[in-house]
């Protein structure tokens, strides 16, 4: 049993508040990603869990045991640092074996465990090299090996793939997923890459400004974002957000009416200013009836085209269409929004989502846990 609980955790550096009221309940064996922009407090969260930083207030527990006053070495965790932090004067084998050595595991038992970890990560041939003589990807695997060798309760990974090239990164992503499946250990994975979080994690904690904005499955994060930040952070391109006003059964954008189903939204939705959110793939571009717009840019990525559209009041939104679709710059079009895919948010800076329904507006393939 190694669930991880953050209970009302605050962290300040001097007068700077890095984390405020952090509550996370990570289940045993779960793969959780901490996702957010730079400086949002992801590493700080992980470091507090590791015991390298201390919460200003609040409680952190691992496997039901409060660890606030426990030294890092006593928490039964392993951590992979963003910079790997391999011991430069030790060989690969000594690096991987070090956590065992410090726990009094000697001779054959240690050598066997090191060999097992090295085989798992295909490092067998590199055991006698120094970290300096390895490529970035190999170093990263050594860092993983040092974490794996001891089979700790919880794995902490701080952007372990960020120094790798795109190809190696996608390879290592698959490896990590496989590894997690095989070991079944709790993993907390820090990343600012939504693709990593979406593809690897069973749940994602989206963080911003020292707060957890939403802690949910990738599916829910994508399809039912809790607020405007999450909606705007997830997806490439992210969800379009258009300010306008609710008037009865319509959402009015620059004088044009988009019909909405008032029963699908909470009672907090009143007539007046609100923000309409719609994913690029839920916009269909046609002619005739609909929200008028002009094509400003069409970017063909090979398997799809991202279209930048300009609304009558000069605001821009993006839509996703099939690659074969021909659209000319300057061409006037009419947009139709899938009513089931319309999210409405409070008109504040990081307004909450007001949809009632929990049916996904669209479905993206998800990894089950």
């Amino acid at each position: 049993m190694a669930n991880v609980i953050f209970k009302d955790v605050h962290k300040s550096f001097g007068s700077f508040v890095a984390l405020e009221k952090l509550d996370l309940d990570i289940r045993d064996g779960e793969f959780v990603a901490l996702l957010g922009p730079s400086g949002c407090g992801k590493s700080t969260t992980l470091r507090m869990l590791a015991g390298l930083d201390f919460p200003t207030s609040g409680e952190i527990s691992i496997g039901g045991r409060v660890v606030n006053d426990l030294a890092p070495g006593k928490r039964d965790i392993a951590m992979v640092f963003q910079s790997y932090a391999l011991y430069p004067h030790m060989t690969v084998g000594e690096n991987i074996g070090y956590p065992l050595k410090k726990r009094g595991i000697k001779g054959a038992a240690r050598a066997e465990a090191v060999q097992k970890a090295a085989d798992l990560l295909q490092l067998g041939a590199l055991l006698d090299r120094k970290p300096k003589q390895l490529s970035g990807g190999q170093q990263q695997r050594v860092a993983l090996g040092r974490a794996l060798v001891r089979e700790p309760q919880v794995f902490l990974l701080d952007e372990p793939l960020s120094n790798l090239d795109a190809k190696l990164r996608s390879y290592m992503r698959a490896e990590l997923i496989e590894l997690h499946r095989r070991l079944g250990k709790t993993m907390v994975y820090v990343t600012h890459d939504q693709l990593e979080a979406m593809t690897m994690a069973s749940r994602i904690a989206v963080m911003h400004g020292g707060h957890v904005q939403q802690f949910d499955t990738p599916d829910a994060i994508y399809n039912r974002p809790a607020n405007r930040f999450v909606a705007g952070f997830i997806g490439t391109p992210p969800m379009n957000q258009v300010e306008g006003t609710v008037e009865g059964g319509d959402f009015v954008i620059a004088g044009h009416r988009v019909p909405i189903d008032r029963t699908a939204y909470s009672a907090d939705l009143h007539d007046g200013p609100a923000v309409l959110g719609v994913r690029p793939e839920a916009i269909s571009i046609g002619s005739g009836e609909g929200l008028p717009a002009t094509v400003r840019l069409a970017e063909n990525t090979g398997h799809e085209t991202i279209v930048t559209l300009e609304l009558p009041d000069k605001r821009r939104i993006s839509a996703r269409v099939e690659a074969a679709r021909r659209l000319d710059v300057g061409q006037p079009v009419a947009l139709r929004l899938d009513p089931a895919a319309i999210h409405l948010f409070e008109a504040t800076e990081n307004g909450a989502r007001l949809n009632l329904d929990d049916t996904p507006a669209s479905v993206i393939p998800m990894r089950s846990t």
Partner: protein, 305 residues
């Protein structure tokens, strides 16, 4: 330019530009070589030349004696006694310098409130003129009114004032202590500079891996300090080996010859006994011993490059 000069495959088929660079390189190092020849190579050759004569220092006159001076060096007691003294002094003071220097560097690397003040204060002995330092220490060591004896007696460690610089082994202990005091700041500064470049996350990783503070010192700090310590030890060994002023001022080599290092022996022979030829032979012998350190040092620095 050195890259071109030491890169045979390329300079063998050098382009006009590379040859121009090589010429410029020679031109630029020429003044250094000239000065080097004048102040180092000439005296060196002169010493070797002098060592086969019996020369009376004030007149610099004397006759050729062949290897007599070297026979005296090998068969007499003076050289071997001084070599033994030099080694005791060097090993003793160097060990203290390293232990105290590394220890203090570790302390000053911590986040302690008086850190920046202490970092500047620690340099004080190193900057102090040797004459001043020796005067202060002579006063501290004085057997009649010295503060050291007073303190030790107050603490009840001794009941009679000790003769610090006038008897053995106290005199040797005294010079070793003063030497360590004078030169440990060099070690502190060099080690501290290296400590600050050890990535903090190595320590963090070690903590997670279950290493306590002592294990972290042995497994991370010390291996990381290895290269800088080797250089410091070699450099300081060379400098301590040929130390002159501190020993000369503090004990003058005494009592009798018990703290007479090779430098002092050479000086005594040349200007006390006025035997320049014999002194030159001693200094050549001393140079040969030092050559061992030099070779080690050169090998070490080459390895790093």
């Amino acid at each position: 330019m050195t890259a071109i000069a030491t890169d045979p495959p390329r300079s063998a088929v050098s382009s006009p530009l590379e040859r121009a660079y090589a010429r410029l390189g020679v031109l630029l190092i020429a003044p250094t070589i000239l000065v080097f020849t004048l102040v180092i190579v000439y005296p060196l050759l002169a010493a070797i030349y002098l060592s086969v004569f019996s020369i009376y220092t004030p007149t610099l006159q004397g006759g050729f004696v062949g290897a007599d001076n070297y026979v005296e060096l090998l068969t007499g007691k003076a050289f071997w006694n001084s070599l033994r003294v030099t080694l005791i002094w060097t090993v003793g003071t160097l060990t203290l310098q390293i232990v105290a220097g590394v220890g203090l560097a570790l302390l000053l690397h911590q986040n302690i409130w008086f850190r920046s003040l202490a970092r500047s204060l620690v340099l004080f002995p190193y900057f102090l003129s040797t004459v001043v330092a020796v005067l202060v220490w002579k006063w501290l060591f004085n057997d009649l009114y010295g503060a050291l004896n007073h303190g030790l007696m107050q603490l009840g460690i001794i009941d009679m004032p000790l003769d610090w610089l006038g008897s053995m082994p106290n005199a040797m202990i005294g010079v070793i202590l003063v030497g360590a005091w004078k030169y440990f700041p060099f070690v502190v500064i060099a080690v501290l500079a290296r400590l600050q470049t050890i990535p903090e996350n190595l320590y963090e990783a070690a903590r997670i891996d279950g290493a306590g503070p002592i294990a972290r010192f042995w497994d991370i700090t010390l291996p990381q300090l290895r290269s800088v310590l080797t250089v410091i030890i070699l450099l300081r060994a060379i400098w301590d080996f040929k130390e002159f002023d501190l020993l000369y001022l503090l004990t003058g080599g005494g009592p009798v010859t018990s703290t007479q290092t090779l430098s002092l022996l050479v000086y005594q022979e040349a200007f006390g006994l006025n035997q320049m030829g014999q002194a030159a032979a001693y200094s050549v012998g001393m140079m040969l011993v030092m050559l061992v350190f030099m070779v080690l040092y050169i090998r070490q620095t080459k390895e790093k490059a």
